[in-house]
Every structure is written in C-alpha cells, then in structure tokens.
C-alpha cells in the first residue's frame, strides 16, 4: 500500500503538523485506511515531528514516518502517495488533483485573509476532494469519501490562455 503525503507549502502550518504527529492518528492511517507510511513536508514550521521516534511507538516496523522542510518539486512525493493531506494553497491542491490523487485539504483558520478556503470549498462542492480543519482531522480521516465516489478533476487548459494572448499581442488570427 502507498504512503500518505502531507504538505504545508512554502510557509508554515504547525497546527497541522502537531495533529499529524500522533500515534493515534498514525493508527487510523495504517489500520483503518491501509497506508503504510507518512511523509511530511513541514516548510518553515517551528514544530518538528517526534512521535515516531519514541521508544514505545506502537506502530514500529509497520508504519514509517519521515519529514523534510522543502524540496524544489513535490511531484515525486505526490506521485508516490495514495492520499495527500494538504494545506489549502492553490499550488498543492491543484498539483495533487492534477496527479489524480485522493486529497484531504486542511484549512488553516489562523490566516487572517483566508481567501485560500474559497478554492478548496468550491472544488469540494464539485466533489473532487474532502476538506476539514485541524481540530477535526481525525474524524475527517475516518469518514473520507471513498476513492470510487470522488469525481476526477478535469485538466486545466493553458493552451486556451496561449491562444488568447497570441490574439491580443498581434500573433493570432483573432478567432
């Protein structure tokens, strides 16, 4: 079974990483959802995961946990994941959806101008992903929409933009 990949993007989201750093949560991912590991991209966060290093870690040998701060591209980790747990940033959300991944978006209530939630909620309304907030993370994982019921996300078409730009910059046939 594949991994779970959690990503906070270029900033920090300590509240999410703290929630993810819990043996109980790992048990849900492992025993209920059948994933065999968790990789966390923690960005600029102050909090570093420690739960898996404890001597009495209950999932020793069954569930692997690792984390890192940044990579130039998250594509490989997203590709290797069966479930992506992401902050609401457009980059991570779109990259995961475009990779056809099962996605749980965790909305950060601490951000002042939280327009990021607009996208996640709008796309959730169309049935492409699940959303939650930090405090409800465990419940949200227990009642994730089954993969078979998630709607595939249609591909974006940047070539439409290229065609429009050609037409207004003097290169197009204007149609």
């Amino acid at each position: 079974m594949p991994n779970v990949f959690a990503t906070v993007g270029t900033t920090s989201f300590d509240a999410l990483i703290r929630r993810l750093d819990s043996p109980e949560l790992h048990k849900i991912l492992c025993d209920q959802l059948g994933y065999h590991g968790l990789v966390m991209q923690i960005g600029r966060g102050d909090y570093e995961p420690v739960a898996h290093t404890a001597r009495d870690y209950p999932l020793e040998g069954r569930f692997s946990v690792s984390y890192y701060r940044f990579k130039p591209s998250l594509a490989a980790d997203i590709a290797a994941a069966g479930l992506v747990i992401s902050h609401a940033g457009a980059g991570s959300v779109l990259e995961s959806l475009n990779a056809g991944k099962r996605l749980l978006v965790v909305v950060n209530d601490d951000l002042m101008h939280n327009h990021q939630t607009e996208l996640a909620h709008r796309v959730a309304r169309d049935g492409h992903l699940d959303t939650t907030v930090c405090v409800d993370l465990e419940d949200a994982l227990k009642r994730l929409t089954p993969v078979s019921q998630l709607k595939p996300f249609p591909r974006g078409e940047p070539e439409k933009f290229a065609k429009f730009l050609d037409s207004v910059m003097g290169f197009g046939d204007g149609d």
Binding site: F70, A90, L94, E118, F161, L165, D166, M169
Partner: protein
C-alpha cells in the same frame, strides 16, 4: 508665467495620455499590440502557488514570447528552482529579484511603505529590460512592476501590455492586486465565471491552470 504654462502643458499631456491608455485598456480604442517578431516577456513569479500557476501558463506559450524575464521577491527561496526546472531546456531566460512589497499578514499601511521601496528597484529594472509584455498573477510583488510598465507607457517611453491572471483561489472576490490592476492591466483573466458579475471587464477563458 512660462513655468506655470509648462506645468499646465505637462499635466494636460499626462491626463490626455491617461485617458487614451484607459480607453485602450477598457476596450474603447483598439488595443492590439503592434506586431513584432519577438516579445520581451516579463513574468512576475509571485511565490508559492502563484509561481506554480504562472509557470504552467508560461509553458504553454508559443515561441514568440522570448526572452522571458522572471521577476521574483528576494525573500522567495523556492521560485528560482521552480523556474529553472520549468526552463530546463532553454537558455532564453533570466531571473531578477526585488524586495517583496507585502508579506503575508502585513498591514495595509506598512505595505504602502514596502511597496515604495520595492518600486525603487522596479522602475530601473523595467526601464533597463524594456518588456513588451508583463505577465503576472499576484500577489503584491507584481504591483510595482506593473506601475513602472504603466508609467513608461503613459510617458510614451515604452509601449507595453500588462496581463493579469487572477489566482484560481479567487472564487468570490478579486485579490487586492486584482482590484488595483483592474484599472492598469490591459487584460484581467479570472478563473471562475462567478466573478464576471462583479467585474464585467474581466475575461473567463475556462479553467486554464
């Protein structure tokens, strides 16, 4: 007397230019860019998801958009790598960094000061690189770049078009950058049709990223 006449003439000229450019921008006068072989394209990579979105658009552009002049915020460590990956098979690009005009959570008042500081870098950069096209999708970093390009166009120093693509995050309202550039950019592209009711000048081209 002579001085005040001169002042009136200058102000009159600027107002006339402003009127003409705004009429072009709002589509009352033809605004298609004069045809040329290659377009010096300045791309403002706004950091994080903004950079990912704009690179996806840049990748789809035809061969005319060359060279590509990327502008990034100096505190943005990730974008140079993303740009280099995206431009892997090209040597037709360069990257310039400017001080960020607004950090996440910064207040509007101090944002004005940091935007002025950022503009002090942008005016010489835009004058030096002379872009034909500025492509941006927010956040604040793009504002001083667009101001510079707009001003040079007003002064007839360099004709340039500004295209702003609102982030796909914006479902119900335009960003601060979008609301400012609604009056400066030649084309404002939104990615959800819901926004057209509030911003009729904007264009919806379908999902493009």
């Amino acid at each position: 007397m002579l001085l005040s006449l001169l002042t009136i003439a200058i102000i009159g000229f600027l107002l006339l230019r402003l009127l003409i450019v705004e009429l072009q921008i709002f589509g009352y006068i033809n605004n298609v860019f004069p045809k040329c072989a290659q377009l010096r394209t300045m791309i403002v990579a706004g950091s994080g998801g903004h950079t990912t979105e704009i690179l996806r658009l840049v990748n789809s552009l035809s061969q005319y958009y060359s060279p590509r002049l990327y502008v990034i915020a100096s505190s943005d460590a990730m974008s140079p790598e993303k740009i280099k990956i995206s431009e892997l098979n090209s040597n037709d690009f360069s990257i310039y960094s400017i001080p960020r005009s607004r950090e996440v959570l910064q207040s509007y008042l101090t944002s004005v000061l940091t935007t002025v500081r950022s503009a002090a870098y942008c005016f010489p950069l835009v004058a030096w690189q002379k872009p034909d096209l500025v492509l941006c999708n927010g956040p604040g970093t793009c504002i001083p770049v667009c101001f510079a390009a707009f001003l040079y166009r007003l002064l007839l120093l360099k004709d340039c078009r500004i295209v702003f693509v609102e982030s796909i995050c914006r479902v119900n309202s335009l960003s601060l950058s979008g609301r400012i550039l609604y009056y400066l950019a030649d084309h404002v592209i939104v990615q959800w049709p819901e926004l057209l009711d509030q911003f009729p000048r904007a264009r919806y081209l379908g999902r493009i990223v």
